[in-house]
Symmetry: C2
Subunit: 506 residues, 2 copies
């Protein structure tokens, strides 16, 4: 990790302010000078505010800490008030559905607010989440996870939430503060949508977005989400796509209860034997999905899209380092990224109901559920995919001639998301990135899904951009989560410049 | 259950004493009259002694109850003393190996004793175990599991240990008591070997048998084990074979840690995908083992052996009732029994290391262990089987061309056991059964293994017979374990007659 941080200096440590003045458009130059200067001036205050925020252990997945999640919402309200935001609302989402210990457990509120409402300006909604993943010192943290540790030597800030997502969320507030103190007018109307349940499935948020689409959010022109990361550690990225996921369960059942393999082995049709036959028919060891009709649904690769993969800061070594192995299915970075981002994949996750412990248990499981999922990409039709998958499993099982019963069902799906990386919002963010970092950003997609992205795009019928602040090695969800100070500072500058470029765009 | 008990009256409720006099050989007739009369006379005492024994919760799998297991050993010593057994020894087996909570936990003693040591008589070793499976009223017992409940209406005795194996063990002591009180000389020298760890792997017993082979057990001519059950509920059986089991683990490993399928799906070789391919190559849904060379090791079916399968009291309905389903691979009773007893089978038990919970987890497991076992039969060579299995898995995996690593290993094996069902010991037991029940016993094997059977046969170089007392529906290891009073009583009579017929045999 130390090595990558040193390498990252290649892009991250150039004299930013100086260059920004050279490359900014004439009319914006003086504003950027003031804004970036102010950001630098307020550095210690911005670090302090992050320190205050991460001290609240707002773990949404821990019921006993729910009051802390709510406390953090109120902390944000205070900050918004301090900065002159208006129409601040805590949107209550009701009772958390089961499974919960406390049947009256309330979901944490969504914090909505506005900064400006000038009808001549564009309106940008910024999304962030103030809840965090669990963390305990005993998990292997070098310092207390809910206490910001500033490592002066490595120039990073370590704490749960530093990069996911308290740091980026506060960066937006800091950008407003910098505008106020630099006496530069905010070029857009800003709306905040900060949720406290992201780490636990964003319960209730999609409904809220739908409900507020014609109300609080009615004038939104674009949505900016800062809740993902650079691909690597060196080069800033803008993210224009996410894969979706359709998660399936294939159940094979036969005997009424688990049987002893001594007594029944060889005389009864074993559900797990049938299941393994079905699972083995789905995908081969090279990663090829063996279900007829799936490959045909994938959007063909255009020349324009392929160009986006050129020169991306990513190597086979990066993948190998991330997996701690040499198990890549592809050798060329472009192939790896395309199979992560723009092609579907089928993963087998496990089997429920079979023997899963250590040791040797001589059981014939009576009912087993095979779990697998398909990562979806444009232009796959989710419903059609379900039918292909279910028909495939039914067909393979039928061929086995087993007296057992086999059913396959979708148990969860999330849509893929793709947007135009040449839209005004992306062009503005690319210009801002070039201004601050001195390099063109990589245009990336992600293999995983962020369902809320799709909700915003669909419900508000607007463009969404993912503008990450942190690096690929920040350890979100892991121990010793951190945010490099340079990423925090340059993130704010990029956000500020983005607002102005976006305001100026056609 | 009621129905089967009523049906069982077909064999079990005939006027036994009357018939026994008619069919016993001339010289034995008066002895059987006396003995069977005495057994009937002592019925309530024999039920009482079982009641006293089952009240001691001798659960060998529960460390906290170890003193109770030891207490039951001492209870048996008292009974042996009362009945005039000699050379009573409590053989201590030392400390129980890990995993244990108490590192000094002592194994329960094996109770050895003799009744008679006349060099002109044959010496029979009877094996039983005094420990029991766990049981709690809340598991679904109709009455307290550690309190004998005599159901007068159903004519059965319900308690943990009633049939497994306290009832059969005490039956041997009762047989001695009946001889003493009927003033009939015991026709053989009897040695008892009662262990207290059978339900927990018979730890230490094999070593004890080997150690005592030339000492305490040096004159043993035959071994009789009453620790299994009739095949069904109606017809007595004698058991002459058990399958063995070789248990394997196939490990596929790749990434250093579990991966997120969103980020890595489609770019890395997934261990579980490879494992499923290997597992699917082992056996088909019809129960055919697909590993080259295995079928060839199975002893051919002889006409004499096949005859033993004729008229066995077993039907497809029995299997369906036992599995609670219609998942049998065969329709003819003979085929079912042969595939349970004399053909190998391969069962898949589960996967360790993969997602095994409910719900939808999008994990790519980094290291997975597939668990499967092969039930072995004559004349399979265990070592050769290991090689065939491991070579097969290696070959299949190699064909996948995966960058992951795959290894297969044997993690446990137990030998099959087969003996001559036409030996003097079996012929004597068959005559005794016919005498008491009025029918020829079914000659059965069992699909599961009882490793100690092999140990006795090999270490003492002698014949072993399994002479069950209880019925197939007794619920050993389950709730509401019971022993029918008729089985208890007729079991003792069969044992007594067996001793005399065996003593008379060539």
């Amino acid at each position: 990790m130390v090595i990558s941080i040193i390498h990252s200096a290649r892009f991250a440590a150039k004299p930013l302010l100086g260059r920004s003045i050279m490359s900014a458009s004439a009319s914006l130059q003086p504003k950027f000078d003031k804004l970036f200067g102010k950001v630098d001036e307020l550095k210690s205050q911005f670090i302090d505010i992050l320190g205050s925020a991460v001290e609240i252990p707002a773990v949404s997945g821990d019921e006993s800490l729910r009051p802390m999640v709510v406390k953090k919402a109120h902390f944000l309200v205070e900050q918004l008030q301090r900065l002159g935001f208006s129409d601040i609302q805590l949107k209550h989402l009701g009772t958390q559905p089961p499974p919960v210990e406390d049947p009256n457990l309330q979901l944490p509120p969504v914090v909505l607010s506005r900064y400006g409402s000038d009808p001549k300006k564009k309106t940008l909604l910024v999304y962030g989440h103030y809840d965090v993943q669990p963390a305990k010192l005993s998990d292997g943290w070098e310092t207390e996870p809910f206490k910001l540790h500033v490592d002066e030597k490595k120039q990073l800030m370590r704490a749960r939430g530093a990069t996911d997502d308290t740091g980026p969320l506060l960066a937006w507030l800091n950008v407003v503060q910098a505008h106020r103190e630099a006496e530069v007018e905010l070029p857009v109307n800003l709306i905040t949508c900060f949720e406290g349940m992201e780490e636990s499935g964003s319960l209730g948020l999609e409904e809220l977005i739908a409900e507020e689409a014609g109300k609080y959010f009615k004038d939104v022109d674009a949505v900016c989400i800062s809740d993902n990361y650079w691909l690597g550690t060196k080069k800033p990225v803008l993210t224009y796509g996410l894969r979706g996921v359709n998660y399936y369960k294939t159940t094979v059942e036969g005997p009424a209860a688990d049987l002893h393999s001594g007594i029944f082995g060889g005389t009864v049709a074993e559900p797990l034997i049938d299941l393994v036959q079905v699972l083995s028919s789905l995908v081969d060891s090279k990663g090829n999905i063996l279900i007829d009709g799936v490959a045909e649904m994938v959007a063909p690769l255009t020349e324009k899209e392929e160009k986006l993969y050129d020169n991306i800061d990513f190597s086979l070594d990066d993948l190998n380092e991330a997996t701690g192995s040499k198990t890549s299915l592809y050798q060329k970075p472009k192939d790896i990224l395309m199979h992560r981002w723009r092609y579907p994949s089928l993963s087998l996750h496990g089997v429920e109901g079979a023997f899963s412990g250590a040791g040797a248990k001589t059981v014939i499981p009576a009912k087993v559920n095979g779990k697998f999922s398909i990562r979806t990409v444009p232009d796959m039709d989710s419903k059609k995919l379900d039918k292909l998958v279910i028909d495939h499993c039914d067909k393979v099982f039928k061929k086995l001639g087993s007296p057992n019963k086999c059913t396959t069902e979708l148990i969860h799906d999330g849509a893929y998301w793709i947007t135009d990386p040449h839209s005004p919002s992306f062009t503005a963010a690319a210009k801002a990135t070039k201004l601050v970092y001195g390099v063109d950003p990589d245009f990336t997609r992600e293999g995983g899904s962020i369902p809320i992205t799709v909700s915003f795009q669909q419900c508000l019928n607007t463009s969404v951009i993912l503008l990450p602040v942190g690096r690929g090695d920040d350890g979100a969800h892991s121990t010793n989560e951190k945010l490099d100070i340079s990423n925090y500072m340059n993130g704010m500058k990029t956000m500020a410049a983005y607002l102005h470029y976006y305001a100026e765009s056609g």
